[in-house]
Symmetry: C2
Subunit: 252 residues, 2 copies
């Protein structure tokens, strides 16, 4: 497909790379930041623009990969009539696009995308569309870059995003809290990498509810009290520890 990418951030960049290596042609990159746009365009082997009036009008698909709050600004400028337009946002209704074209939808990558990270991870794609033929078009496109493609409406997509926030943002925050504790205590955080990796990989074999272990689950007060004592200097982390210890116990 011939694709115009609107946006130059992490989603625009990583989706652009995936689509290009799947054989699609990125015909143009639009970005308000002309430096970022020309850089991404160069990487994707195409041209860039930062003027709306020169956005290429004959592409098959326009991917709006901008922040949630920028979507409406873009739509004020962009009128496409019969070309397909999608946004990539988890929490924005597909209907925000209904005045931009007769064919619109959502192409939401359920992954944490960082342009600086060298490898490209597997990216499940969650799609939605205004009509059946657009849905088939997006399904085809999604399958060209991913093994996991699902259809979901606005509400299901938002629920998926909520679950993603828990297993990505919240989990990463626990990593960050542990790293900060280790740094303060002169412990090498890297020693925990194999454990972190194993914890994440195990859920493919055993449901996390089944594989829970640790002092909280077995109500091992001796160990819990020792840990709370160690956390005296860290009131914030101590509260997190207590919250989890209670939550694991009541959900056992």
């Amino acid at each position: 497909m011939e694709i115009v990418i609107i946006g130059t951030g992490n989603t625009a960049t990583v989706l652009g790379r995936k689509l290009k290596s799947a054989g699609h042609t990125i015909v143009q990159v639009f970005g308000r930041d002309s430096m970022a746009a020309s850089q991404l365009a160069y990487e994707l082997g195409t041209e860039s623009t930062n003027y709306w009036n020169v956005v290429y009008k004959e592409a098959d698909l326009y991917i709006l990969a901008v922040s949630d709050i920028a979507i409406e600004d873009v739509l004020r400028e962009l009128q496409l009539a019969d070309k397909t337009i999608v946004h990539t946002a988890a929490s924005v209704s597909k209907n925000i696009l209904k005045n931009a074209s007769h064919h619109f939808g959502v192409f939401y990558p359920l992954q944490s995308l960082k342009k600086e990270v060298g490898h490209i991870p597997d990216i499940p794609i969650v799609i939605d569309a205004s009509d059946e033929s657009t849905m088939r078009e997006l399904e085809f496109l999604a399958h060209s870059i991913s093994d996991k493609v699902v259809e979901a409406g606005d509400e299901q997509r938002m629920k998926l995003h909520l679950a993603a926030v828990i297993v990505n943002n919240f989990v990463n925050h626990l990593y960050a809290l542990a790293e900060s504790y280790c740094n303060n205590e002169g412990i090498d955080f890297d020693l925990l990498w194999p454990l972190i990796k194993e914890t994440a990989e195990r859920i493919q074999y055993i449901s996390p509810a089944q594989s829970q272990t640790g002092p909280a689950l077995r109500n091992d007060r001796t160990t819990i009290e020792k840990h709370l004592e160690l956390l005296k200097k860290y009131p914030h982390l101590k509260r997190i520890y207590q919250t989890f210890t209670e939550s694991i116990y009541v959900n056992r």
Copy 2:
């Protein structure tokens, strides 16, 4: 080395397997549960016993891989004089062993070990010892099964365990909460696997403090309010969501 393993649980089993494949000889398995002991002994190509008076007395090393509270029971029965004895517990002082032998120490695997899991993950080993020669002996043994070996006293080991509880038990609990939410909402939890894997792997390239993203970090109240609305039916998960949203924001 010739090794007697005392215990038949996850730590005893997985360490036994690792040590055997590294070329050590497990000369005996002791377990109070004779069925479990004979099963593990069979797997490790040796004999088992559930009587203290027939525990083999000429091994190089005795690994006490039993629960924290069972260590003292075992020590009441076991007198080894000059043989090396270690326990595998994070939160128990090495000095609990000082009456059992002149050579004692700790051999703590910093990993979540499950005998049912087919693959054996990397296992950093945290060692401690009563004297220099025992430390070198344990270091040699640890290096035979692991690339990551560190010395740490009782308190550092307990701090490492605390950090391990955060990145393993607490993280796994978040996975379990997300899985339960997905099941209740008719969402396929498996769709989150690539994201979970990427979140865990990324910390090898970027510090988790640097790679934090999401609505809490950017104080995106629109998305946060939508999520809290979705969590109305889940007061427990809602409290966890609020705790993290606040913690991520104040630690940004």
